[in-house]
Symmetry: C2
Subunit: 189 residues, 2 copies
DNA sequence: GTCTATAGCCGGATAGAC
DNA sequence: GTCTATCCGGCTATAGAC
């Protein structure tokens, strides 16, 4: 097995453990045990514990950044853009729910360069979202509530999907997308 | 100053640090430094690091449990109940936003009895919420989307308020309540 | 590529002086 | 009530045998 594949296995196992206890509470011994080897052996495939964390988080953050850039630059209507953002989050969650736990809760344990890079991506992502909502209210596609509240409540729900989706085993991805779009856009009343 | 007050100061300082880095990444030396004393001195006021965590989390969980029980047992209509739940979350967030970080992210580091007690309270809370939404759909007060999606998306937003509210310094609590109720109940379109 | 052994450091917590 | 000094265990990471 090539080292790259072995590294991917380590990252995957680490994602699950980081989700359960958080980056700081997971030891290299825990991770090695989950892989069925000794802690020292991990270092043939990775440089450090920190490298595992940054691999998980930066890959996901770049995925969101690329997706958001495409949506943001398109010439669709606001509502269509928001629907695409909801789909983006659901798609990423289906593919890597465990990694999203680190993205949401352990980003502050990234070190220098990666921390700055991550924070910039997150800022740009939120700002793109905010601009889309802003334009939507100007075009009267969206109600003129406080824009920050709209951005916050929508993003909160999408960012927390990773916690909730794995528990809903019997729900179809397409139904989830449809209902999630309805709930977030049209409300529940 | 009585020991009880000093303990409260420690818990408050710890809440801030736990919010920034998480329970596991904060050391007793970090906490002592924030209090302007040495780590050993903390132990004149608390039994252990674990005691600080359980004080933060259990107090808050009990506050939510009491609030939810009152709402749940009242004879109000469903929509009024949901509005009261939104207000409950906003009120607790205004009073103790830092502590809510531990409630949301560090509950898994509670030990045996407190962990079980917490998990029971959280289960009951969610179940009460679910029953309220269920009744609302039966009475046609609420649209008949997938109930789990409604419960999840509403709770996600309310639980994440602690991250967002402190950044919105210029927003009035009453306006926040009003707009949050509108966004969650009526949607944004 | 995995192992054993261990370096070197830092963690929570205690003892006892003041 | 706070301090200094310290115990002791667990942490990340490395060295070197197989």
């Amino acid at each position: 097995m090539k080292p790259e594949n072995r590294k991917q296995e380590i990252v995957k196992a680490a994602s699950i453990l980081f989700k359960e206890k958080g980056y700081s509470a997971v030891t290299m011994r825990d991770l090695a045990k989950a892989m069925g080897i000794k802690a020292a052996s991990l270092y043939n495939h990775i440089q450090s514990k920190q490298e595992i964390l940054s691999t998980i988080i930066i890959d996901l953050a770049e995925e969101f950044t690329e997706g958001m850039n495409k949506i943001s630059e398109s010439d669709q209507k606001t509502i269509q853009k928001i629907e695409n953002i909801i789909e983006l989050h659901i798609d990423v969650t289906l593919r890597n729910a465990d990694g999203l736990a680190s993205l949401n809760n352990d980003w502050m344990h990234l070190e220098e360069d990666n921390l700055q890079y991550f924070e910039k991506m997150r800022y740009d992502y939120e700002n793109n979202f905010r601009k889309i909502v802003q334009k939507g209210t100007e075009d009267k596609e969206i109600k003129s509530f406080n824009i920050e509240i709209i951005v916050f409540s929508t993003l909160s729900t999408l960012r927390t999907l990773y916690l909730w989706y794995p528990k809903q085993k019997d729900i179809d991805a397409d139904i989830l997308k449809k209902d999630m779009i309805s709930v977030l856009l049209s409300g529940i009343v």
